[in-house]
Symmetry: C2
Subunit: 319 residues, 2 copies
């Protein structure tokens, strides 16, 4: 669920008074989202989303995230547009947190990925990459390859409780990935977390791309690799090359891949699987019983990783 | 949180096709609510709430709940109006559950109860009682005094893990309550769960009364006792007689209490505290670690119960 911070009506009223978006009509916590508290806010002027940033988000990063969203929305990408208060600020204190109001986006995220979702997804990702290129500030990927050895170290002792021998096996795989990590590929701003629940569809088209709080400046093709992991595996963890082909077709129609980017897809996919495996493993081992967050099985990504280990080149992904 | 059942877009589209409420625009899980899965549904015709009934609700009770809501809404009470499908049904299958669409109510539930909330609350409760009197079908209170001994039995062995000696102490208190339980008081349909998060306020007035899934036919004044427990204690569990007086003033302005009802308030309040104590105790002892539901401390109601044990008559509640 995604309401960690409760907002009193008095605090909300005072907060809204600093914006020019009308009077409060309704205010309901949203179940989706994991990192922050999200509320659906209806005012006399329409629908908005109110987000309170929780402790996992570094406040110093917030102006970059909101700046990127503002830039992408101005470029026509259907992403939430941060609403500025009367004084021009788009980040303001509320209930002991920093909060932002963004525009409401229509649509629904696909609970089951169909092949039909994948081409529009790839196209939206390419458009996001292209549109982001005009936004000069950068943000280092805090969960990039540099961080993975450290992340694994924190879970190494307890990893065997998840699967016998998992720690040493991941350490060996991780060495292989970081040694083969590509250098010199095109970089720019990437979403870095474009999972199903961050993409809304309406009438077969993408109506919203949300949750930019892992966005950073990194290899474009790594963002594709994250999407291949998130969108192209079936429930039994078999890889669906038809979905992958559609995703890549959608992407390359807007931003063709260089030979070097295509050749790097297998290791980028391994890295993307490793990244989610490691954060899930850490959360799995460190989420207290009774916590509000559903723990996600890290082995889901172990299974994906094993597929990527068998990929010899980009043809494994239908390219 | 309150999304236990995920609905695919295909299933949602098929479901909506059987209603005459326009095309889907957005669909978001709502964080509030404990028993059922709730979604905010926006269509081209407006805002609605979609509820999927989860396993704690007996499907046989649903027509009564929805019938009561329809009746109360027709009487002008601001409660959700069940929307009927084209075939006239207001309960329809969706994603392996029974589901209903109801109208969206504006407002926000008060995170912190102020004295100003209590008089309108009392008035709304009385209006609910009066409006319900024209709805002939009845529903037994499945969590009424008859059920309490049984509920306590299920927790008796483990209750001492919550507080030493709790089991025997509750057993003694419960005997006292059920022996003194009043007979012959006016009965009718009661909400039976009118906690803060089930009451929306907008501009100082009540704009919504929701969640009728504990509603039943029982002593009217017992519903008042539930509200006194839910709305009139401070965070330190001290009783706020000013709030209580306001609540009772709001209620009696619409439905005066008989002498017998007033005299029964202390034992009814003890019973109401016992009812929530017992269900919370059971949930506390039986909620698996990692469950999505936040366990609520049963001792919150033990502390309330101890206050009610000191109440000699209705004057303790400001009457």
């Amino acid at each position: 669920m995604a309401v960690y911070t409760e907002v009193t009506d008095e605090a909300l009223a005072a907060f809204l008074a600093s914006y020019d978006i009308g009077a409060m009509v309704a205010f309901r916590g949203i179940a989706e989202g994991v990192e922050n508290s999200n509320y659906a806010l209806k005012t006399t002027q329409g629908d908005f989303i109110l987000t309170l940033y929780e402790k996992r988000v570094d406040p110093a990063d917030l102006p970059w995230f909101l700046g990127l969203m503002e830039h992408l929305a101005a470029q026509g990408l259907p992403c939430p547009l941060p609403v500025r208060a009367k004084d021009g600020q788009n980040l303001n204190p509320l209930a002991g947190r920093i909060a932002a109001i963004t525009t409401f986006l229509p649509g629904v995220w696909p609970r089951r990925v169909a092949i039909e979702h994948c081409e529009p997804l790839g196209a939206a990702l390419a458009r996001l990459h292209l549109a982001g290129s005009g936004f000069p500030p950068t943000r280092k990927n805090a969960l990039g390859p540099d961080s993975w050895h450290n992340l694994l170290q924190k879970s190494l002792n307890d990893a065997s409780s998840v699967q016998p021998g998992l720690g040493p096996e991941l350490a060996a795989m991780l060495n292989g990935i970081t040694n083969a990590w590509p250098q010199g590929l095109p970089t720019g701003h990437i979403h870095a977390d474009l999972f199903q629940d961050n993409v809304f569809f309406l009438n077969g088209e993408i109506s919203g791309v949300i949750d930019f709080y892992f966005a950073c400046t990194d290899i474009y093709a790594y963002d594709i690799a994250i999407c291949l992991n998130a969108w192209c595996f079936e429930r039994d963890f078999s890889f669906n090359i038809t979905k992958s082909r559609a995703l890549l077709r959608g992407y390359t129609a807007h931003r063709p891949l260089s030979d070097a980017e295509a050749a790097a897809l297998p290791v980028l996919c391994q890295g993307a699987a490793m990244r989610f495996l490691l954060t899930r493993l850490y959360d799995w081992l460190n989420t207290p019983p009774g916590a509000l967050v559903t723990r996600k099985d890290p082995l889901d990504y172990y299974r994906r990783l094993r597929f990527h280990n068998t990929a010899m080149d980009a043809s494994a992904y239908g390219l």
